[in-house]
């Protein structure tokens, strides 16, 4: 494995700029309509992310409403809150909290992509439901803003170098240590190999 670059301290500044841009884009993403639904015999309506979730709830699709609420509302907010924690911590020498913060980074990185759910949903509906006056779905500017939020938060997460959280923390050894080898599934005692001299 090639040696990685040294921790990039400037990554926090770049990540902060991207995260702030994402926060700004949240306003149009949640306030503007994301799609227009027109069905024959019904009043055509513009739907925002939150009104879409409420509509699913009213239609008796509570589970689905929970999935969309999590992916489209909670995940972006949690990602930005997590990034905010990491960026503040990176400025204040996290020290003993480095392990917890690294886990937060891992979680933020993992959940990031699921916010794209609403973008894929609107894309599919606008491509599939094209029956003229009988039924049609068209995208609206809110979905563009929401897509920007997703991309900006993902870029911010990728730009942030989590190793800067550890620059003040003591290394586990002076030289390269043996990684712990453990059973993945079977709950056996962990096998430790002695550190190299």
């Amino acid at each position: 494995m090639k040696a990685l670059r040294p921790p990039d301290r400037s990554s926090a500044t770049h990540a902060a700029a991207l995260a702030i841009s994402a926060v700004i884009m949240l306003v149009p993403a949640y306030s503007l309509p994301v799609m227009h639904l027109g069905i024959a015999g019904q009043v055509a309506s513009d739907t925002t992310i939150l009104s879409g979730i409420l509509q699913l709830w009213r239609d008796g699709l509570g589970g689905l409403a929970a999935i969309v609420f999590t992916a489209s509302f909670l995940v972006p907010l949690l990602k930005l809150a997590g990034l905010g924690c990491l960026l503040v911590a990176a400025r204040h020498r996290p020290g003993s909290h480095a392990r917890l913060l690294t886990r937060i980074y891992g979680a933020v990185n993992f959940i990031g992509r699921w916010s794209m759910l609403d973008v894929f949903l609107v894309a599919f509906l606008s491509g599939a439901v094209r029956f003229g006056k009988l039924a049609s779905v068209e995208p609206r500017p809110g979905i563009l803003a929401f897509g920007a939020v997703v991309v900006l938060t993902m870029l911010a997460t990728h730009r942030f170098d989590p190793r800067i959280l550890w620059t003040e923390a003591p290394s586990a050894g002076s030289g390269p240590d043996d990684a712990r080898a453990v059973q993945a599934a079977v709950p056996r005692p962990s096998a430790f190999l002695s550190p190299s001299s």
């Binding site: 699913l56 794209m116 609107v122 599919f124 439901v129 043996d178 080898a181 993945a184 002695s194």
Partner: protein
């Protein structure tokens, strides 16, 4: 074996490690932050290549076969995987259409192609020179490949459209779903596969 392959550096905390020999089913954890650095699957070293090849084979029909067929009062409409991109593009959302095209189609296809190329190169006694570059590209592309999210989005759309139009799932969607599953399996094994151990038949001698 390349001597560099016997070292692992944690991408999350930067801690250097000497890679332990892993038995099938074992994984190596970072001594400092606890991140998983490598994992040796029970299915053998070629499993990732098999998964990636299967995914790639399934990806091609997913592009060409009908994804979904919708019916509304006698009007029938068949949509391909690229239907969403087309819909956004025709509505004047070219930028968003490009994002959906990249994350839903190009990046997953590119990732599978890169995985097959890298894993095939690693099966050779002397991996080709561009092997490391392709590995680096694969890590870059994976961040943006989101076939599983697209599947969930389509599922949500099905429920949303339940009363508006009649829907039937086409073979393209089944192939796309299977391809995304194999992409996940291939990536999991590829990203955590202990490098250099494929060639090592016996455990490295433990230091005193």
């Amino acid at each position: 074996m390349n001597p560099e392959d016997s070292h692992l550096q944690c991408p999350l905390c930067g801690q250097s490690h000497r890679a332990p020999f892993l038995e099938p089913g074992q994984r190596a954890l970072c001594v400092r932050c606890g991140a998983t650095l490598a994992e040796r699957g029970r299915l053998g070293p070629d499993a990732a290549l098999v998964f990636a090849l299967t995914g790639l084979v399934l990806a091609l029909p997913s592009l060409l076969l009908p994804f979904v067929t919708l019916t509304k009062v006698g009007n029938e409409r068949t949509v391909l995987l690229s239907g969403g991109v087309e819909g956004l593009w025709m509505s004047g959302f070219g930028l968003l259409a490009s994002l959906v095209l990249f994350c839903g189609i190009l990046a997953p296809l590119g990732l599978l192609t890169l995985l097959v190329a890298v894993l095939w190169a690693e099966t050779r006694a002397n991996p080709v020179e561009w092997h490391e570059t392709l590995r680096h590209w694969a890590h870059g592309v994976e961040r943006w490949a989101m076939p599983e999210v697209q599947i969930l989005g389509v599922m949500v759309a099905f429920f949303k459209l339940g009363t508006v139009v009649n829907l039937s799932v086409g073979p393209g969607l089944w192939c796309y779903g299977a391809a995304s599953l194999f992409t996940l399996l291939a990536w999991r094994r590829f990203s955590l596969q202990p490098r250099g151990q494929q060639a090592r038949a016996t455990p490295a001698p433990a230091s005193a």
